[in-house]
């Protein structure tokens, strides 16, 4: 029997708080070198990420995804929406690799989103910034300043900044972009789907349980990343 408090059917009424949110920004390289199988696999990976989150009722209300593509230009493909509102974007590959501008836009998008949360009294989890590239920045030295901000934010615990290189990526520059806490990972072949499954599992883990800020235990990456790069 479900016991009510008191015999008069007095049941505690739950306050109608908004769900906590977990903001995730994907910075995706869609330059010309991604044409063909890589862009197809990347699209399939993003779609599988959405499906994985959708399978979890709580996570689908909490995870908010923003997609920024950089190929020829920097485009905000999707501003933050919860996963259930997100139609899967179809990314096309063209142009050069304005990675610095994308990183800058990603950071600004996150800060703007946090302001929206704070105004609305919504609690939020530590944001995720996830950069995937198969090249090197072609927009001058813009990336250096943006990378510094991202690294600082990661080191200060204001976001979790991950970088992933795809075959052909300049891992040396990616190493300079990445946070010292989290060296860049190299994707095995075109295992984008495995990468996004890992990302959805990690984001779900963070958005469903309470953790010590400094000890987020994420699943192993050896299903999709080359170890020892």
């Amino acid at each position: 029997m479900t016991l009510a408090f008191g015999d008069g059917g007095l049941l505690p009424e739950f306050v109608d708080n908004p769900e906590n949110r977990c903001p995730v920004v994907l910075l995706l390289d869609t330059s010309a070198s991604m044409r063909g199988a890589p862009i197809d696999e990347l699209n399939a990976g993003v779609a599988s990420f959405r499906n994985q989150i959708l399978m979890d009722d709580t996570a689908s209300l909490r995870v908010e995804l923003s997609v920024i593509a950089f190929g020829g230009e920097v485009r905000l493909v999707r501003d933050f929406v919860t996963i259930d509102d997100l139609s899967t974007p179809r990314l096309e590959a063209y142009g050069n690799t304005p990675m610095g501008g994308a990183l800058d836009l990603g950071l600004r998008t996150l800060e703007a989103r946090k302001r929206v949360y704070r105004r609305a009294g919504v609690h939020y989890y530590r944001p995720w910034l996830f950069l995937i590239t198969d090249g090197a920045p072609t927009d001058g030295l813009l990336w250096q300043e943006a990378a510094m901000r991202a690294q600082e934010a990661d080191l200060m615990g204001r976001l979790s900044f991950f970088t992933v290189g795809v075959e052909g990526a300049d891992m040396e520059i990616l190493g300079e972009i990445a946070s010292p806490n989290r060296p860049p990972l190299m994707l095995q072949g075109l295992k984008f789907r495995d990468l996004f499954q890992w990302l959805s599992a990690s984001v779900r883990r963070v958005s469903l349980s309470r953790v010590d800020a400094r000890h987020v235990a994420l699943p192993p990456v050896n299903g999709w990343a080359r170890v020892g790069v």
């Binding site: 029997m1 479900t2 016991l3 009510a4 408090f5 008191g6 007095l10 049941l11 505690p12 009424e13 739950f14 306050v15 708080n17 908004p18 906590n20 949110r21 977990c22 709580t58 609305a120 009294g121 919504v122 609690h123 939020y124 989890y125 530590r126 204001r158 963070v206 958005s207 469903l208 349980s209 309470r210 953790v211 010590d212 800020a213 000890h215 987020v216 235990a217």
Partner: protein, 261 residues
């Protein structure tokens, strides 16, 4: 005149599904006439042995403060109403909790961080309550007149799933001690699992329609065993489980000015 109080805790559905033990723990005792002492703790989800940390911290709090309040129940119905106030009452508690956790960690052959836990401790009389707080557990009280109010504030970080722990290097700086020297009629203590359904996120205000039924119930219940059964039922009820995935702890205390029947 007397307190009627009871406490229970329950494993959340995510921990049950994952085979993780309930990481909440709590106890409530009567160390002296008219004094209620309670401790609740929430082991960190990220710590392998958070449940052992929570048990050790609560055990240390009751072991230290029970005899202390037994020997000196305070003045004028307020456990912290003596020389030194709440600081004197809770003196040495953080160290005792950390020592107990370290001891358990040593037995388990694990670092102290593996037993990370929050700790919220209160000592209440009819005319005052003092709260020791590390982390995001909370206490709501109500006097003979007036609204439900948080005693102190749950210590949450900027991010929704992050808080501070007794085992943290910064525990001493984050420790908050609050003392209210006013008549108390109702006390509710809980771990973070219940925050989302009972406290408005926008302004940290207790939701009166959540607390009123609990308050009326404990005010009209004369037997702690009945209170315990009711809390147990509520924490395991379908309605609550549908809304709360985390482990939960709930303590209710009611001051009965006319005493038990």
């Amino acid at each position: 005149m007397s307190w009627v109080a009871a406490l229970d805790f329950a494993q959340g559905r995510h921990h049950r599904a994952a085979g993780v033990p309930c990481q909440d723990f709590g106890r409530v005792v009567h160390p002296a006439e008219d004094v209620l002492l309670g401790a609740i703790a929430d082991g960190a989800g990220s710590a392998a042995l958070g449940h052992l940390g929570a048990q050790a911290a609560v055990g240390a709090a009751i072991a230290l403060l029970g005899p202390r309040l037994g020997a000196n129940p305070g003045l004028r119905g307020d456990p912290a109403g003596g020389p030194g106030g709440a600081d004197a009452l809770f003196d040495g508690l953080l160290e005792a909790a950390r020592a107990a956790i370290s001891e358990t960690a040593r037995h388990q052959g694990r670092p102290i961080d593996a037993l990370a836990t929050t700790l919220t401790v209160f000592a209440a009389g009819p005319l005052g309550v003092a709260v020791f707080q590390i982390g995001d557990g909370w206490i709501v009280s109500r006097g003979p007149e007036g609204d439900y109010a948080l005693v102190g504030h749950p210590q949450r970080g900027e991010y929704a799933n992050e808080t501070v722990f007794v085992t943290g290097a910064d525990a001493e700086e984050t420790l908050a001690i609050t003392h209210i020297a006013e008549p108390i009629r109702f006390l509710c203590a809980a771990t973070d699992g219940l925050t989302h359904v009972s406290i408005a996120a926008a302004d940290d205000r207790p939701h009166a329609a959540f607390f009123q039924p609990l308050d009326s119930f404990i005010a009209s219940t004369e037997d702690a065993a009945d209170a315990h059964r009711a809390i147990r039922g509520f924490l395991r009820s379908e309605g609550l489980r549908a809304r709360v995935e985390d482990d939960v702890t709930l303590m209710l205390g009611g001051w009965h000015p006319l005493g038990r029947a």
